[in-house]
């Protein structure tokens, strides 16, 4: 190619022979405290000029032994641990864990609790995608988007606070249903937010979708073949941006997702830009689901009719002997879960989140393993960035949307 395509830059400069004795390689250490690694990811990259020859991710800086800690908590207490794994999608984690334990207990969850779970899980998806979009754009140099995204995220966190009393570590889903009765006025609060939100997505799209700098930084960047991704345990929007419509919400619907009308957006370009478009469309689909959940919210109970598992109402506890005994038993020793093992996967904002729980029949889990989406996704980093330019690494890893708490556990 004779023209470099960039005005004023002759290609001769680019094609100048390298130093005598072949190109000297250097090793670049990125992280673990680099701001664009969103946490504590460390990448060791061997560079030949600006090309990455090898890339070696180093993880584990945030390993807190959560899987071990599950083994000394009773089942209900352990819900609080799941929040802290993927701190951008706490309710998704709560949901995955509760569904797995409920499968072991074979509990029937009343429709209102299921729909509430769906609605809040989708709000969590919005929350997580907003943080992703804001920080990803910030990494690439579009600062305004970050401020816009966090404005809306704040609203979502306030909604979470209204439901659970907590902004981030909600623990709102409990085994058998919800932690508290849905607060008065939740409908109006969410409606106010969800009515404006689609126009806010339009705002982000105005800023980015046709932005020449954004397109230049993201189109054709971070390519990796679908076969490689499937082989390397990648899940979630990354696969959907490569044309594979794999979504646990559709394939194995849980918590009555089968009753909702939504689409799984896919693209085929398989680059950073396609992943951006997929996530933007996912936000619109989430809005659709939330609207359906709000308007069709069934009445009735918000926790299962299982007195040995679910705490009794405060009022009953003070007036009925039976309820008082159950309350005492559940608080002091927890509840026993039948022996067995289950694996339950859900679609978290980042991909397939699976809980593998082994029970030995006591009130404490014998073993809990979390199949977290970030751990699988990060494995694909070397395959994705090797052979590309160092400047594209930030865009490429940003498009994976990993959370290091989710990776290291």
């Amino acid at each position: 190619m004779s023209e470099s395509g960039v005005p004023g830059l002759s290609t001769e400069v680019l094609e100048e022979p390298q130093q005598q004795g072949g190109g000297r390689r250097m090793v670049l250490n990125m992280g673990p405290q680099h701001p664009s690694t969103h946490g504590v990811l460390r990448l060791l990259m061997e560079l030949d000029g600006e090309n990455i020859v090898t890339c070696r991710p180093d993880i584990g800086f945030l390993h807190t032994g959560i899987e071990k800690e599950f083994e000394v908590k009773n089942y209900q207490q352990a819900v609080t641990l799941t929040d802290r794994v993927d701190y951008l999608a706490p309710l998704s984690n709560n949901l995955g864990y509760c569904l797995a334990v409920e499968k072991l207990l074979q509990l029937d969850i009343p429709p209102q609790a299921q729909w509430m779970r769906v609605m809040l899980a989708e709000l969590t998806r919005l929350n997580s995608h907003l943080v992703w979009l804001g920080t990803h754009a910030l990494d690439i140099g579009a600062m305004t988007v970050f401020l816009y995204c966090f404005r809306e995220r704040e609203e979502i966190l306030k909604i979470f606070e209204m439901f659970s009393g907590q902004r981030m570590m909600t623990s709102y889903f409990r085994i058998g249903g919800l932690a508290l009765e849905p607060p008065r006025g939740w409908y109006a609060r969410i409606k106010k937010f969800i009515d404006v939100f689609p126009s806010r997505i339009d705002e982000y799209e105005n800023l980015l979708t046709n932005n020449r700098i954004w397109i230049g930084r993201t189109k054709g960047v971070g390519m990796i073949s679908l076969e490689d991704m499937l082989d390397l345990a990648v899940t979630g929007p990354m696969l959907r941006a490569a044309g594979l419509s794999l979504d646990v919400r559709k394939d194995a619907p849980y918590s009555s997702y089968e009753k909702f009308d939504f689409e799984v957006p896919t693209r085929t370009e398989n680059d950073v830009y396609a992943r951006y478009l997929v996530r933007i469309e996912e936000m619109r689909q989430s809005v659709r689901i939330i609207k359906q959940a709000m308007d069709g919210m069934p009445g009735g109970d918000w926790k299962a009719d299982a007195p040995h598992v679910v705490l009794p109402d405060r009022e009953k506890m003070k007036t009925q002997m039976e309820a008082l005994i159950y309350h005492f038993k559940i608080i002091t020793e927890g509840f026993r879960v039948p022996e067995g093992e289950v694996f339950h996967a859900i679609e978290s904002p980042r991909g397939e989140l699976g809980f593998y729980i082994v029970s030995d029949g006591t009130a404490t889990p014998y073993r809990v393993h979390m199949r977290t989406p970030s751990f699988g996704n990060l494995q694909a980093v070397p395959r994705m960035v090797e052979g590309t330019l160092i400047a594209d690494v930030i865009a490429a890893i940003g498009s994976m949307d990993f959370v290091l708490g989710d990776t290291d556990r």
């Binding site: 584990g60 074979q106 082989d231 345990a233 397939e352 393993h369």
Partner: protein, 157 residues
């Protein structure tokens, strides 16, 4: 030997037809199929399941410590067939002294980090693994935290 009650599951039958000695047992509980595989056969069974039975995704690899029972360790594989929307759990039991098993990285490259994690936290060695290094813990860490004989709390100082 394939247990009688699993004969209606096509994946179990297929593995049985592929290598009858490989299956040590199995169960179908909570709508999930578990096959217990002889540790020596794990790589070949996984290869068969991936290429012949379309279990193209390895969802996760982990382990369970049954201390003090023997065989002490269970290495657990979760497979996913996207076409048939089917999941399958494979399990291998290993003795407590120098637990070693063949790596399945030759079948799914994605097993790499999962096996490293099990190696790091359980002390189970994977043969023919391309890069068996610690992944979570510092280089000088002693002991294997997810084993049952490893304390949750350290001594008070």
């Amino acid at each position: 030997m394939l247990p009688e009650n699993l004969k209606e599951h096509s994946a179990a039958l297929a593995v049985d037809a592929f290598d009858a000695d490989a299956i040590k047992g199995g169960k179908f509980e909570f709508g999930e199929l578990t096959l217990e595989i002889a540790p020596a056969k794990i790589a070949s069974v996984c290869g068969f399941l991936k290429y012949d039975q379309a279990f193209i995704r390895l969802s996760t690899v982990t382990a369970v410590d049954r201390y003090p029972a023997e065989p002490r360790f269970e290495v657990v594989y979760h497979l996913h067939c996207i076409e048939r929307k089917e999941r399958l759990r494979l399990k291998c039991r290993l003795m407590g002294a120098e637990p070693t098993i063949e790596s399945v990285t030759s079948v799914w490259r994605g097993a790499n980090w999962y096996e490293r994690e099990v190696f790091d936290l359980f002390g189970i060695t994977f043969q023919n693994h391309p890069d068996l290094r610690r992944i979570m813990l510092p280089e000088d860490w002693e002991g294997y935290p997810l084993r049952k004989d490893y304390p949750v709390l350290g001594p008070r100082v």
